[in-house]
Symmetry: D2
Amino acid sequence: MRFFSDNAAPVHPKVMAAMQAADTIDTAYDGDALSRGLDARFSALFGRAVTVLWIPSGTAANALALAALCPPYGGVICHRDSHIQNDECGAPEFYTHGAKLMLGEGPGAKLTVDEVTRVADAIANDVHRVQPHALSITNATEYGCVYSPAEVAALGALAKARGWRFHMDGARFANAIVSLGCTPAELTQNVDVLSFGFVKNGGLSAEALVLFDPDLVDVTARRRKRAGHLLSKGRYLAAQIHAMLDDDLWLKTARAANGHAQTLAKAAEGRLINPVQANELFLYMSPDEAASLRAQGFDFYDWAAGEIRLVTHWASPQHEVEALARAIAAL
Amino acid sequence: MRFFSDNAAPVHPKVMAAMQAADTIDTAYDGDALSRGLDARFSALFGRAVTVLWIPSGTAANALALAALCPPYGGVICHRDSHIQNDECGAPEFYTHGAKLMLGEGPGAKLTVDEVTRVADAIANDVHRVQPHALSITNATEYGCVYSPAEVAALGALAKARGWRFHMDGARFANAIVSLGCTPAELTQNVDVLSFGFVKNGGLSAEALVLFDPDLVDVTARRRKRAGHLLSKGRYLAAQIHAMLDDDLWLKTARAANGHAQTLAKAAEGRLINPVQANELFLYMSPDEAASLRAQGFDFYDWAAGEIRLVTHWASPQHEVEALARAIAAL
Amino acid sequence: MRFFSDNAAPVHPKVMAAMQAADTIDTAYDGDALSRGLDARFSALFGRAVTVLWIPSGTAANALALAALCPPYGGVICHRDSHIQNDECGAPEFYTHGAKLMLGEGPGAKLTVDEVTRVADAIANDVHRVQPHALSITNATEYGCVYSPAEVAALGALAKARGWRFHMDGARFANAIVSLGCTPAELTQNVDVLSFGFVKNGGLSAEALVLFDPDLVDVTARRRKRAGHLLSKGRYLAAQIHAMLDDDLWLKTARAANGHAQTLAKAAEGRLINPVQANELFLYMSPDEAASLRAQGFDFYDWAAGEIRLVTHWASPQHEVEALARAIAAL
Amino acid sequence: MRFFSDNAAPVHPKVMAAMQAADTIDTAYDGDALSRGLDARFSALFGRAVTVLWIPSGTAANALALAALCPPYGGVICHRDSHIQNDECGAPEFYTHGAKLMLGEGPGAKLTVDEVTRVADAIANDVHRVQPHALSITNATEYGCVYSPAEVAALGALAKARGWRFHMDGARFANAIVSLGCTPAELTQNVDVLSFGFVKNGGLSAEALVLFDPDLVDVTARRRKRAGHLLSKGRYLAAQIHAMLDDDLWLKTARAANGHAQTLAKAAEGRLINPVQANELFLYMSPDEAASLRAQGFDFYDWAAGEIRLVTHWASPQHEVEALARAIAAL
């Protein structure tokens, strides 16, 4: 019974069916109708003209976004616990050609206007210091928390006022939307580039890089090619994304994942390190307790000394979730 | 009727079925059994211990190979008409952090020992000149020709003698193998890294990066992650490759593609710019003749003034190939 | 008797004296009065507002210029025999983060509008091909020839029409100016960045990077720091440049160097491979003849089979130049 | 009366004289006798065979050292307050092609074995996390403190045990040596590369990059060229270093600087934030007090709220130092 990662989730049958349906002789790269149709699809979703590039991985989507927003000699303010800092083996530094990540602190892996201001103001504005050029947040965060539309807008306004660009790592954007009950447009005010994740939520190998600034499109398309991410059979990636958007499948799968997390949260109330606002839970748990759960067949990640991480996803079997909830409650 | 590119080919039903079969909750990245099984599979195929990383695109496979073989301050000798020079938007320069491609000449996009020697000997061995560190060839070449095992071995021996590493871009390795009637082992003597292509030949999004030198494995695995090519649902990529190897599917599909090319070659005998040894044809053809073919419904690439390119693939409909052969013969 | 390189020249006494005069406690980096005075000095020289950064080497000046003008995913059209291609160990690729040099041909290491057009037009304008973003020429060229003001203007106009930026490597700009009898302004029409060399012409360690576009200043100042070229005792570099400009010392030293070259050219008339328009000569010469000169105490560079290079400089002893002229005539 | 930075110091007359003495026609780059003589000179000083490259700036020396010791996908553990992190505009990231600086804490800008262990042990050893490959310390530190030979050796032993390389930023190595009363050999046990500074201590534009590992020499020489730091008139840089070593001039000038700092330290005893072990002082000081000193003609750096930095150097006028000491005591 796996609660290790939502990356372990399978591909949704409708996504697989869409790939099957795309399986004909067609134009290579992103010249096919499915790929060309993404802009309109997402423009409708966000209520404004956007350009969308499919990208095979979230790491690449984030790194391409940062390369679009920050020059090699600049810096990106982000959270100390962010995925771009800890879990991408230096992809941001590779794609930006050596930009520096500037780390802020805060509970739930969330940055605040005050904290970002503190980080920035500690940097003398001279030629010797790397200057911040972009701000990056993750929503939902690496600790399963969400930024509200107002929080996002405030951080974006700060970025704008300082002359920085604004990136949102939305590997679990769907979970945040479902959790907040808001629209994609409401949650991306002032955002320049969004990495809109589908792979953890039912997709196979297609994230959507949403460019809100048309000036970034040509350059990012070239960088995608240069990085080897312009797959020749792109239609199968576009097909995945279309299937996820059809009938709001992406919201349904995220709702399932979040729901499972709430089931576990209720059973683990006294143990919660952070509020559970998406599909990840971080629990205080002794090594003995963790061993006991494992002995009952549950698989999960040891986060830190006395802490574990549980992740649910759209395909987590309901009975396994309930079994785990009972097991935690019984500890 | 599309003869534009083998990238337009669909995914083979057996590949699609293998992905479907892999569609369960499983370990992320490359920790699953299918991914872990690739080394043994390819070691058997090559008759020696190799390590294999799945890579979503040929561009990335080539660029990762070159980064493994050439430092930022080094050079890679390759053909002026090579894919790495012309068709990857600078991916080699990106992944190697600025290595220089050093261009040789020769018919059929083939390098010879003499030509490589000429290129290398023109470079003074001092600190002011970028020095060659690697040699890269494409087999089958960008002009649809093949290097024989003896030619590969001779170039590899030259590389070894000079202290260079040796890369083979095998985007159409299957077509070369079928054309030559040799084994993969025979065609990769002295090769350090092979980009073994499946996507043009029935796959969807998985090439095999074959590392013949165990010292390159850890570094290349890190670079793959850092480049965003360690997809979280890697089992679906590994599944594609296994399906291609099962029952020699990769040879069957390449045989079909090459066969179609021979059908066309026979009809175009006086027009052939290069010998047709794989699944690409380059023909002398006047604009009027090209227009006539297009008027009959055939789609293809204008290569240069008075030249066209035709590409066949495993799924090219037999009747379309025959129709095109007749149309060319009738010009 | 050294005719190997103008890099072997000593430092002019007035330059040394100016450094001595600057030898006091003062502001570090480029905050001193001498450094701050460069903009006005060069603005007067060029007859328009320019910004100037001192740079310790010509290689760095060129590489910083190219990094300012070409993105990592772009290309720079230059001559196959250019210094940036052959003699900087990949500095352009390092500073630009992997831009590609696109090589043209032509006698005297000179590019023409036709040749540049030919190189550019061979590149399909799609996402797979690196696109040219800049044009770089060397004046005087690596073969001791000069571009006239009209030739420079025409190449600059081509660059402008194509949307490229325009760089001039002026390691021997002074020799070109003296040879042509024109003004610096006349010789830099449409140029965006000029690497204005002083080190071969009497300086020690200060080239002037002349930025004609104010938008490039801040970024280039940061890149200079990031590359370790913002020396802490910058005033000693600025002092060198001021001394070279005082009383047109730079023209006097270049005139001496060019004059020496003409003395040699007259003696070598039938042997000249290129017209002698600056301070370098390339001569046809058999190995036996070269050995004979060497036996008489003359030191120089073997350029290619049957070819030698001679370089004069401001401090070449007159009697050595005349002795060499006699020796060549006597061969 | 300037106590702002030792970068404001003039060039020592003996250094200037040595440059003057080198002012003849000679071999370019580092082919001259002075440059070639550095290895022997430093091998004698360190009591073992070393290779030395002159480098025009400390930033470049550090960045070249890190590029030699850490791959693009690796990390360098250093102090949060280190020069390489804060004052080089990302030069380490540029030269290493995107390695990550991993920040430790500790008073006096000093790292301890425990702290470095803590930083390293927090990094999971998997493909997703950048792994440390090198450790870098500054001696004397950015806060004017020194690492003893035993402390250096212990950190070096830790690095060795972990498989990392070890770099020492010795911009003020002379001040540390004088302060500790030890030999250069004693202070560089286990060190792989030392940036040995001369510019703050009487030189003009030459630091010595000391390579203790012969395997690093060729690569670093190439990187120096590629970065534009192989100046064509290198003999004038080598001459500076020789002059600094002659008759232990480097120790005399450092002794003077450190002595001035002690004079100030005695006057400022209750205000010292760190022990004064080199030529920098960090004092608690209210804005009013700072204003009072400035009104008396003293120039210095406001370090943080309620803190100032004072720096002395070999040429700080004795009477100015005494005047400042009196003024501080009188506050």
